[in-house]
C-alpha cells in the first residue's frame, strides 16, 4: 500500500487539531487539549515520516505530486496540490520533527497558562500553515501558507494580549511582514503575467523554454528575472528578518519561548530561504540580484552578531543570533550555494530550537526572569538543561563534529570558491563573533555565582520531563544532523568516495541553465581543508575570548569594563545601532505627521468644509421642500408610484 496519497493528512491533521481545540474544546479540559494539541502534530509527524520513508525509496527520488482540487479562475489555473520533492522533503522533515518536539515541550512549559487551549490551537494552526507552505506545488499555495504562518506568528507573539508589550510586538511583526508580502505578491504577479503559470514545475519549464523573455529588460532597469528575484527577495527579507526588515524579529521574543523556538527560529523565518531555494532558477538568471542577496545576507549576519554581543536578555541574544544565522543562509543562497543554504537551514533548525528551548527551560526555572545579569551558576541546578544548551552552543559555534560546523563551513567554502573574498572574510568574522557571544551566554547563565534574588534561588529547579526530553532529542539532532552533509574534502582525506548525501539528494532541485556551467565552483581539496581549519580556528578564538572575558566567574563585570573601555561603541551595540529609533524617525513619525495632516487639514478643513457648504445648501432646499413632506408614509409611496408611472409612460408611449 502506498502511503504517499495520504500526504494531505500531514497538514490536515494540525488544521483539524487547531479547529477542534479552537472551536470545540473547553478551557477546563486541559488533558483533552493536550491530547489533541500534541497528538495532531504527532500523528502528522508519523504520517510525514512514513511518506518520507516511501519517498526515499522511490527510484531516483522522483517528485511526487498530489492533486487535491483543481481550481481555475479565468486564465489563472492554480491547483490545490502538494509536491514532495527532495527540497520539500527536507523541509517536511524539519518542520514536523522539530515542530512535534516543541509541541511536547510546550505541554510542560505552558502548563500553568490560562490560555493553554488557545495556545495549542494557534500552534497547531501554525504547523498546518507551515506544512502548506512547504508542501504546496505552486506559489499560490505557498503564499497561502506564507500568510497563514504570518497570521499565527502575529497571534502567538501577541499571545499574552492582556499585557502591554506582546500585542505591540505582534502588530509590528505583522506590519513589517506586510511590506515584504506586498513585494512577494508583486513578484508573483509579474511571474504569472509573463509565464502564465505559478506551478513550480511548469514555471521552470516555461522559463527554460523562454530564456530571452526572462532576460529581457522589464522594469526599474532590471530584467524580468531580476525584477521577480528582487521582489521575492524583499518578501523573503520580511519573513526571514533581513536588513532592513529584520526589526520585528527581536521584538517577537515577547511571545512564549516555545513559539520563539518553533516560529522565530526553526521554521517560519526560514521560509524565505526555502522560497529563494525554490526559485533558484530565477535567481540564477539574475546574477546582479544574487550578489545583492549575498551582500544583504553577509551584512545582516555580522550586524546582528555584533548586536548579540551586547544584549542582556537571553532571548534577545538568541533572536539576534537567529537573524545572523539567517543572514548566513542568504549569503549561501546569494553565492549560488542553495544546497548549503538549505543544509544550514536544517541544522540551524535543530540547534537553534534547542537553544531556545534551553533558554525557555532556564526562564521557566527562574520564574520568568530573562535578564542574564540576574542569572549565573545554574549549571548545578539544571544539569540537563545545561548539558543540552552547551551542545547547542558548541553546535552553533561551529566546532566539529557537531551540526553547525558542517553547514557553516560549507557556506564559507562556497563563498570563498565563488571568489567573494570580502564576503568570506565577513562570514568568517561573524563565525568568530557567534562563538564569542554564544559562550558569553553560557558563562553568564550557567557559570559563576547566582546573581538573582533569594526567592528565585529557592525556586530554582530542573524542568519537568516533558521539557527535558525534547531538549535531549534535539541535542542529539544538533550533534548528528551535520553528518549527512560531510563535505567532499573530508571524504578525500578519509580516502573514500564522496558521500555527501545531502548534496546528492538535493541536487536535482537546483535547475541548470543550458549553455552555462553548473553553479558549483570547484575548489581544491587542500584549499577546502585549509578553509575548514580557518573556520575552526576562528571559532576556537571566539570561544577563548569569551572565556577570558566572561569565564571564571567574572560574569557581568566584563560587560561593565567593556562599557567603560569603549563607551560609545558599547552603547551603540546595546541600543542595536539605533535602528528602531531611525525607523521611527524615518518612517513612523513622518507617516504619523502625514496622517495628522490628512486629518487636520484635508479632512477637517477641505472635506468637512465642503460638506458643510453642501449641507447648508441641502438644508436650505430642505427647508423649502419640507412643506411637501407630511410624514405620511403612504403619501410618499403614492408620490413614488406616480413618479414611476410617469417614467413608465414616458418610456413606453
Amino acid at each position: 500500500m502506498s502511503l504517499l496519497p495520504y500526504l494531505w493528512l500531514v497538514p490536515a491533521l494540525p488544521f483539524l487539531g487547531a479547529a477542534v481545540n479552537g472551536l470545540l474544546v473547553r478551557n477546563r479540559h486541559k488533558g483533552l487539549a493536550t491530547a489533541i494539541g500534541v497528538g495532531a502534530p504527532g500523528l502528522s509527524l508519523f504520517v510525514a515520516l512514513a511518506c518520507l520513508w516511501e519517498f526515499l525509496h522511490r527510484p531516483g527520488h522522483a517528485p511526487f505530486e498530489l492533486l487535491l482540487y483543481p481550481w481555475t479562475a479565468g486564465d489563472l489555473a492554480v491547483d490545490f496540490a502538494f509536491l514532495l520533492d527532495p527540497l520539500s522533503a527536507v523541509m517536511l522533515f524539519v518542520v514536523t520533527f522539530v515542530g512535534f518536539w516543541i509541541h511536547v515541550y510546550s505541554a510542560g512549559y505552558m502548563a500553568r497558562e490560562p490560555g493553554y487551549r488557545r495556545y495549542f490551537a494557534y500552534l497547531n494552526l501554525f504547523m498546518g500553515a507551515m506544512l502548506l507552505l512547504v508542501l504546496g506545488n505552486n506559489y499560490v499555495v505557498m503564499f497561502i501558507g506564507w500568510e497563514g504562518v504570518g497570521l499565527c506568528s502575529y497571534l502567538l507573539i501577541g499571545f499574552h494580549f492582556d499585557q502591554d508589550v506582546p500585542p505591540k510586538a505582534g502588530r509590528k511583526a505583522f506590519i513589517v511582514n506586510r511590506i515584504g508580502d506586498f513585494a512577494f505578491l508583486i513578484g508573483l504577479f509579474a511571474l504569472f503575467a509573463s509565464f502564465g503559470t505559478l506551478d513550480y514545475d511548469k514555471l521552470n519549464m516555461a522559463i527554460l523554454a523562454n530564456l530571452e523573455l526572462a532576460r529581457a529588460p522589464f522594469c526599474l532597469g532590471l530584467s524580468l528575472a531580476g525584477f521577480v528575484a528582487l521582489c521575492l527577495f524583499v518578501g523573503a527579507m520580511g519573513k526571514s528578518a533581513q536588513i532592513p526588515l529584520y526589526v520585528w524579529l527581536p521584538d517577537a521574543m515577547a511571545g512564549p519561548t516555545p513559539v520563539s523556538a518553533l516560529i522565530h527560529a526553526a521554521t517560519m523565518v526560514t521560509a524565505g530561504v526555502y522560497m529563494v531555494a525554490r526559485t533558484n532558477l530565477v535567481y540564477q538568471l539574475a546574477p546582479g540580484v544574487l550578489l545583492f542577496v549575498a551582500v544583504i545576507g553577509a551584512l545582516t549576519a555580522i550586524f546582528a552578531a555584533s548586536i548579540g554581543l551586547a544584549q542582556n536578555d537571553i532571548k534577545k541574544v538568541l533572536a539576534y543570533s537567529t537573524v545572523s544565522q539567517l543572514g548566513y543562509m542568504f549569503l549561501a543562497a546569494g553565492v549560488g550555494a542553495y544546497i548549503a543554504a538549505i543544509f544550514h537551514l536544517a541544522t540551524h533548525a535543530f540547534f537553534k530550537a534547542l537553544l531556545f528551548l534551553g533558554s525557555g527551560s532556564v526562564i521557566h526555572g527562574m520564574g520568568g526572569e530573562q535578564d542574564m545579569r540576574k542569572m549565573g551558576g545554574l549549571k548545578s541546578h539544571m544539569p540537563a538543561t545545561y548539558r543540552t544548551f552547551l551542545i547547542g552552543t558548541i553546535a552553533i559555534a561551529g566546532i566539529p563534529p557537531l551540526a553547525g560546523f558542517f553547514s557553516k563551513d560549507e557556506i564559507l567554502a562556497s563563498t570563498f570558491a565563488g571568489g567573494h573574498f570580502v564576503l568570506w572574510a565577513v562570514g568568517l568574522l561573524t563565525a568568530g563573533l557567534t562563538a564569542c557571544y554564544m559562550f558569553r551566554v553560557v558563562y553568564l547563565t550557567f557559570h559563576g555565582k547566582f546573581r538573582g534574588t533569594r526567592d528565585q534561588e529557592h525556586h530554582l529547579h530542573e524542568s519537568p520531563k516533558s521539557m527535558t526530553v525534547p531538549l535531549i532529542i534535539l541535542a542529539v539532532g544538533a550533534v548528528a544532523a551535520g553528518w549527512i552533509g560531510i563535505p567532499a574534502g573530508m571524504w578525500e582525506l578519509a580516502g573514500t568516495e564522496d558521500r555527501n548525501l545531502f548534496h546528492h539528494f538535493l541536487s536535482p532541485v537546483i535547475a541548470t541553465i543550458p549553455g552555462e556551467g553548473g553553479t558549483g565552483h570547484a575548489l581544491s581539496h587542500t584549499a577546502e581543508i585549509s578553509l575548514i581549519l580557518a573556520s575552526i580556528g576562528i571559532a576556537l578564538a571566539g570561544i577563548l575570548i569569551a572565556r577570558r572575558a566572561w569565564g571564571g566567574g567574572r560574569g557581568v563585570a566584563a560587560d561593565e569594563s567593556i562599557a567603560k573601555a569603549a563607551p560609545a561603541f558599547y552603547r551603540l551595540l546595546e541600543n542595536k545601532y539605533y535602528v528602531d529609533e531611525l525607523y521611527d524617525r524615518l518612517f513612523v513619525r513622518p507617516l504619523a505627521r502625514l496622517a495628522r495632516f490628512c486629518w487636520k487639514v484635508i479632512d477637517t478643513v477641505i472635506i468637512d468644509g465642503g460638506l458643510h457648504v453642501v449641507a447648508f445648501l441641502t438644508e436650505l432646499t430642505g427647508d423649502l421642500g419640507r412643506f411637501t413632506t407630511t410624514g405620511n408614509v403612504r403619501q410618499y409611496a403614492l408620490y413614488f408610484f406616480a413618479g414611476a408611472l410617469a417614467l413608465f409612460w414616458w418610456m413606453i408611449f
Binding site: T629, T630, G631, N632, V633, R634, A637, L638
Partner: protein, 101 residues
C-alpha cells in the same frame, strides 16, 4: 385549447395593480406588506410567462432570486414591524410619522 401567454400577462398586470392599490391605501403595516408581496407575485408571474414565451430560462432564474430576496425582505420587514410595535404600540403606517418635519 391551449391558453395564450397573453392572458397570463394580463392577469399579472391586474394583480399588480390590485397590489399597488393595497400597498398605497392600507393602514396596517402588515397589510401594506402583504400587498407588496402580491405585487412581487405578479411580477414573478410575468417573468415566468415571458420565460415560457421566449423559451428562455433566465426568467425562471430571476423568479428564483426574487423568491429568495422576498424571504430576506419579509424577515427584515417583519422584524422592523415587531420593533416598531414594541416602541409605539401600533403598526398603523398612518401614525408612523416620525419623518414629519
Amino acid at each position: 385549447m391551449s391558453v395564450p401567454i397573453l392572458w397570463y400577462l394580463l392577469l399579472a398586470g391586474a394583480l399588480f395593480a390590485i397590489g399597488a392599490f393595497g400597498a398605497l391605501t392600507r393602514r396596517s403595516g402588515i397589510a401594506v406588506f402583504l400587498s407588496i408581496e402580491l405585487m412581487l407575485n405578479a411580477a414573478n408571474l410575468t417573468l415566468v410567462a415571458y420565460s415560457r414565451l421566449l423559451g428562455d430560462r433566465t426568467g425562471q432564474m430571476l423568479v428564483f432570486f426574487a423568491l429568495a430576496v422576498a424571504a430576506a425582505e419579509a424577515a427584515v420587514g417583519l422584524a422592523l414591524f415587531i420593533g416598531i410595535y414594541r416602541l409605539r404600540r401600533t403598526i398603523d403606517v398612518g401614525r408612523m410619522n416620525l419623518m414629519r418635519w
